[in-house]
């Protein structure tokens, strides 16, 4: 396989919506571009035994139109409109986004929040990496240069549970300044479990474990809100960049956390 032969000098070209700008600006010059757009077996979205399998080449706009995503992964359905603009969504791929692992990207955060598994293939065979072990650092993942990301497998969402996707960006479709994906369960407005994944502010999609621990079996009242605002700073370590200072981003993430949980609790199904 070409990827094996060229290693880091060969680059996979998927939607090109992140790679092509760097080529046009002469910011990267791989010896070889390997266009995978003809691998049509990689663009399907299927439901298989309570697992949604998203092929690496599924375009963002295909996810937006997919009844499977709409029905079984509403978190992702809510995230997609935040990913870029229509013409970029028509080309950009799910696999490209997860392979690149841009810290401000929406989809890697969703994959982590939903407990997805990344499927990688090389000449040596296939291996599966859990999202928890996949995102390592700034644009750094567990994928080796000779591996092709072929699919992401995501268990269907607990449809009796809660979810919310919120983000702030300068303009609609821009990369996020701050944002989070929330997944949880509740009973009579009492939070039972909570998973919080932050993006935009951090170097990689980040689980806020201390804050999540506070939310287990709690009422969502002023006291909890206060506790969370105090704890979040110990979970997050925002980057200062052109989008804003670390301090501002931490503040925004606190505001967004409140919005996300408010929104999620509105989705609680009435108990029988």
């Amino acid at each position: 396989m070409l990827l094996n032969e060229y290693g880091e000098d060969g680059q996979i070209l998927a939607g090109g919506q992140s790679l092509m700008p760097t080529l046009n600006m002469r910011l990267s010059n791989p010896q070889l571009l390997i266009d995978i757009n003809h691998l049509h077996e990689l663009n399907s979205i299927t439901l298989d035994d309570n697992i949604v399998r998203i092929g690496a080449l599924a375009r963002h706009s295909e996810l937006a139109l997919s009844p499977i995503i709409d029905m079984y992964l509403p978190l992702i359905a809510d995230a997609i409109p935040h990913v870029a603009h229509i013409a970029v969504r028509n080309r950009g791929t799910f696999g490209g986004s997860v392979a690149l692992a841009d810290p401000a990207a929406e989809l890697p955060a969703c994959v982590l929040a939903l407990g997805g598994t990344v499927v990688l293939q090389s000449v040596k065979g296939i291996r599966k990496v859990k999202a928890d072990d996949y995102f390592l650092g700034l644009y750094e993942t567990e994928r080796k240069p000779n591996e092709l990301l072929i699919e992401v497998q995501i268990p269907v969402q607990d449809l009796t549970g809660l979810w919310a996707f919120v983000e702030l960006s300068q303009r609609k479709g821009d990369y996020a300044i701050a944002g989070l994906a929330f997944i949880g369960t509740s009973e009579k407005q009492f939070i039972k479990t909570a998973k919080l994944v932050y993006f935009g502010s951090e170097i990689k999609p980040t689980l806020a474990k201390k804050t999540m621990a506070i939310l287990i079996n709690t009422r969502w009242d002023d006291n909890t809100r206060k506790l969370i605002a105090e704890t979040l700073g110990r979970d997050l370590d925002p980057m200062t960049n052109l989008q804003g200072s670390a301090k501002m981003k931490l503040h925004l993430q606190k505001v967004l956390t409140n919005r996300a949980i408010d929104l999620a609790l509105k989705r609680e199904k009435p108990s029988r």
Partner: protein, 161 residues
């Protein structure tokens, strides 16, 4: 190393074309320099401004973020081809009537993007129209007149049908 040029066969505005292209040339350079179709503009060349918007296989894409060789076997439509079909003649007239362009640099990209919205032939709110062109920059009009022109086009079309 791999070869520097490659032969491609594609449909551009309905005509079947065979050309030898430089493998690193992007689609809009190919359309402008090789085919003389200068309606597609180049602003930023890195995906931000939308001036280069064209259709490939019926969907609007950034012409600057696709290589010409990737269009091999594909069906490309530019503003020249779309204008010829008359599909958006009403939108174009409303652009002129409402002064929805000044320098006109963004206009072909705007129209290619908006044509995709109009194909849905359903009512769109002003916010939905703005959302749809959120990836197309206009440095002159402030967008308001563009949204007006689209709104008029949609309501006229729905009124007529």
């Amino acid at each position: 190393m791999s070869e520097e040029t490659s032969e491609i066969k594609l449909t551009v505005n309905g005509d079947l074309i065979t050309k030898i292209v430089n493998v690193r040339q992007h689609l809009v350079d190919f359309l402008r320099l090789e085919l003389g179709l200068t309606g597609s503009h180049l602003g930023c060349e890195h995906g931000i401004c939308g001036a280069c918007s064209v259709w490939v296989d019926g969907l609007v894409v950034r012409g600057c973020l696709m290589l010409a060789v990737q269009a091999d076997g594909g069906d490309v439509t530019t503003i020249e081809g779309l204008t010829e079909t008359g599909e958006i003649a009403d939108l174009q007239k409303n652009f002129v009537d409402r002064n929805a362009l000044q320098c006109g640099f963004c206009t072909p990209g705007m129209l290619m993007t908006l044509a995709e919205l109009l194909r849905k032939s359903e009512l769109s709110s002003r916010e939905e129209i703005r959302e749809h062109i959120s990836g197309n920059y206009c440095r002159c009009t402030g967008y308001h007149a563009i949204v007006d022109a689209v709104e008029t086009t949609i309501s006229d079309r729905l009124g007529d049908s």
